[in-house]
Symmetry: C2
Subunit: 208 residues, 2 copies
């Protein structure tokens, strides 16, 4: 049984391997991976050992091989359909975000409650639909993943609608904590977590 904190690091390892593959690198030591990530090489080897013996002592890891292993473990050697609720500024940005496709995800539908937005095109392939269409759309695309890009005060109700329609995973951009049943996973995009990580290292202060 893999600790969730380990699972959370695997996509970061995968992203680093994608970068190294793009640089033409064929082999990577755990030391180099660790240096790139600010994680100890021991931690990386320990994390990966949960899944198999992927590296050679003294040689390191084959980049292409380890990348394929992680893609399989994370189940992203395929394309997951994702729905998005909220077609405002952030929703527009997400609908045209091209960082999803080659890493296993595709937004297949966008929903909004504002009549002025329903029917608008937000990307070459997506027109905004009404929230009332969420249930049938999730059924049709067998979609298990939803993203929330609505104001904080609307986010819980949107989550309830998604959960009721069968969603299993939610990525929430709104600055609020969602209540969901135990079988539903929620992750948050919280820029402040990253900003506070960075201020730890800053010397000069800031205003009271």
């Amino acid at each position: 049984n893999i600790p969730d904190i380990v699972v959370g690091r695997l996509p970061v390892y995968l992203r680093t391997l994608e970068l190294m593959a793009g640089e033409g690198r064929e082999v990577a030591s755990s030391q180099e991976l660790g240096a790139r990530l600010g994680i100890s090489s021991a931690q990386i080897r320990k994390d990966l050992s949960h899944f198999g013996e992927f590296g050679k002592q003294g040689t390191g890891y084959n980049v292409a091989f380890l990348r394929r292993q992680l893609e399989q473990i994370l189940k992203v050697n395929c394309v997951w359909p994702v729905v998005l609720v909220g077609a405002g500024y952030l929703g527009h940005a997400l609908a045209s975000y091209n960082g999803f496709e080659h890493r296993g995800f595709r937004i297949v539908a966008v929903f909004d409650s504002d009549p002025a937005k329903i029917g608008n095109r937000v990307s070459p392939s997506i027109v905004v639909e009404p929230v009332s269409a969420i249930g049938e759309t999730l059924q049709r695309c067998q979609c298990q993943i939803g993203m929330i890009a609505v104001p904080a005060e609307a986010a819980q109700k949107v989550a309830d609608t998604l959960v009721e329609a069968g969603i299993r995973s939610i990525l929430c951009y709104a600055p609020i904590t969602l209540n969901v049943p135990a079988h539903v996973r929620v992750e948050y995009i919280d820029p402040v977590i990253h900003l506070q990580h960075m201020t730890f290292y800053l010397r000069q202060g800031c205003d009271e």
Copy 2:
């Protein structure tokens, strides 16, 4: 010397304590913190022990006290000025994001290279300025933190401009890895990391 991987968890602990304080909670055991976060109580106690003896054996942590300690450690008992480059869809969403202020950050300026956007108001207090104004603005506000919300192909050049003007920390939303000098920290907002964390747990597959 605190491992960076520990530093990265502190803002998450702080966010959880803020939530608990909002629920009126006065005391929190490491078990409860761990359960809320999917992190072992041992890991939490070990992480916090780097900074002091904050809890009582058998009692747990005083929520308000621990929260203040973490705010001090992360230096967010004050408001850091932040600049933003990119006033497109994402930039608009960030300029009006109200999740920053009470957690230690305020966007004080927004820059863009598009003449059609310069001069536009993106929030009650912010009008878009030209990229040429970055240097003088950073000087005036003593700002050490920048956010990048421009297309991937423009992000490296924008980072170079920010670094040259004295920025020490960059939060990058663009799907690209930045090259910066060793004294500059970069963090990425990468939704795919979170989505891949979630697909690990999904049973039903997806399309090839």
